[in-house]
Symmetry: C2
Subunit: 266 residues, 2 copies
């Protein structure tokens, strides 16, 4: 059992939780809590840490999954130091990052109607995680992000995905313009959520392969990004609201596509 | 200028930011940042605090609004202590709480199609604020909350409303069952968002007065609350997502009602 706050493995976990550079270097990220451990694919888990006071309970609950994994018990004090949360839940694991290839994702395009969400510089980790969770629920095939979007492997983002991080393909791209043009060449219709869009979001039909572009929380989409889309759409708003939360706007668009596809089928 | 960290006014602001009991006792809440100050109705502002380093700039930008208000400059160190944020923006004000009467709100029901969102025990301050922001944008008439819902006047909630806190009527109620029965008696159709709902949310028409019930983030709606509704509805989900974020679910329902009412008119 690890009881020293200065143990090198403990310091390594703290660095992984705190620094994107460290996560990228090691190709790992930190996952906390029973739910997120339970949903993590076992073959991607490189190490598990249990807090002493709940280790027995966790072994009882997750014995089968834990049996094949490298597992270490640490004192509660050490666990609290590793944890990113105020009320640590006593289980934490390191998970190998997954890299997806947008080309492979697009290969599916002839078989089905695809759905993408493309994010420009989303900054709030909670928003980003919520968008992943919502994207999975709406049946999206991938989340595409500008390189200045928050890091998906930030512990707060991971938590907000509620497990979708393991299941929704994604990629970060240097140039959104290039990926938008590529999507269009591949037959995906691209709609930019933009306050200046003349059409309401429900004026279009999203039965065919569709991508929605969502801009940064404070500034919305860059004009040059919006200009690459097939069309600009807006979500009609009442009252004196200037814009919607980015995760809310994403949800309304993704679920409108989902709704249209569902009723189109019945 | 206040330069002492122990000044009693400064301590009073800190208490208002930290404690619901103190906010309720004084009937005030704390608002931070130029945007939220700019949107606050001047007649409800009881005091303004400016950080020394930006006081001149703020007086330039908000001179007209500030002129009729009780305004105090404080040292940057004092301001940082009062502020709830990591990067204080140099302007903070105390705003008088507003109390709404659900009876008065319902008096409007014969004149228009009403829209309500009813929240059971929502805990996350950010979610609650985002629901207010979205409710205003969707044209909701009021947000009704169970007494165990997070405090709207929590600084984090206030920030997330992006100003909707000043404009969307709301009330906390002891018994959701009673208010649901009252809404139904007044001709409002009440729909409970519930994973067990057989109907999809878009199976119903929301042109007439409508209320949506949304449950707690972790547990969803209580069975006894859901049972009071006219109908239970679910949002069809793909993948392995167990539930949606409460603000996301609220948004999808509110904007479906908004969409139906908009296209119904055209």
């Amino acid at each position: 059992m690890i009881t020293s706050l200065h143990n090198k493995d403990i310091k390594a976990v703290e660095a992984l939780a705190a620094k994107k550079r460290e996560r990228d270097r090691q190709g790992l990220f930190v996952v906390e809590g029973p739910k997120m451990f339970g949903e993590a694919p076992a073959e991607r888990i490189s190490r598990v840490y249990l807090a002493q006071s709940v280790a027995e309970q966790m072994r009882g609950q997750y014995g089968e999954k834990l049996s094949g994994l490298s597992c270490e018990t640490v004192s509660d004090e050490v666990f609290a130091k590793m944890s990113d949360t105020k009320t640590p839940q006593g289980i934490l694991c390191l998970v190998r990052q997954q890299h997806y290839n947008i080309e492979e994702i697009l290969h599916e395009k002839d078989k089905k109607q695809m759905l993408f969400i493309v994010l420009e510089d989303i900054q709030d980790p909670g928003n980003l995680g919520t968008i992943f969770r919502t994207a999975e629920a709406a049946g999206a095939d991938a989340v595409i992000m500008s390189s200045r979007t928050a890091d998906l492997y930030n512990p707060k983002t991971i938590r907000s995905t509620m497990g979708s991080v393991y299941r929704v393909p994604f990629c970060y791209v240097e140039s959104l313009s290039s990926i938008i043009m590529k999507l269009r060449e591949e037959g995906v219709s691209v709609y930019a959520a933009h306050l200046g869009g003349k059409a309401a979001y429900d004026d279009y039909r999203y039965q065919k392969s569709t991508a929605f572009l969502i801009g940064n929380e404070a500034n919305g989409l860059r004009e040059e990004t919006a200009a690459c889309a097939d069309a600009m759409i807006h979500i009609p708003m009442k009252g004196r609201v200037e814009s919607l939360n980015a995760a809310v706007a994403s949800s309304i668009l993704l679920f409108e596509a989902s709704r249209q596809r569902r009723i189109g089928k019945s």
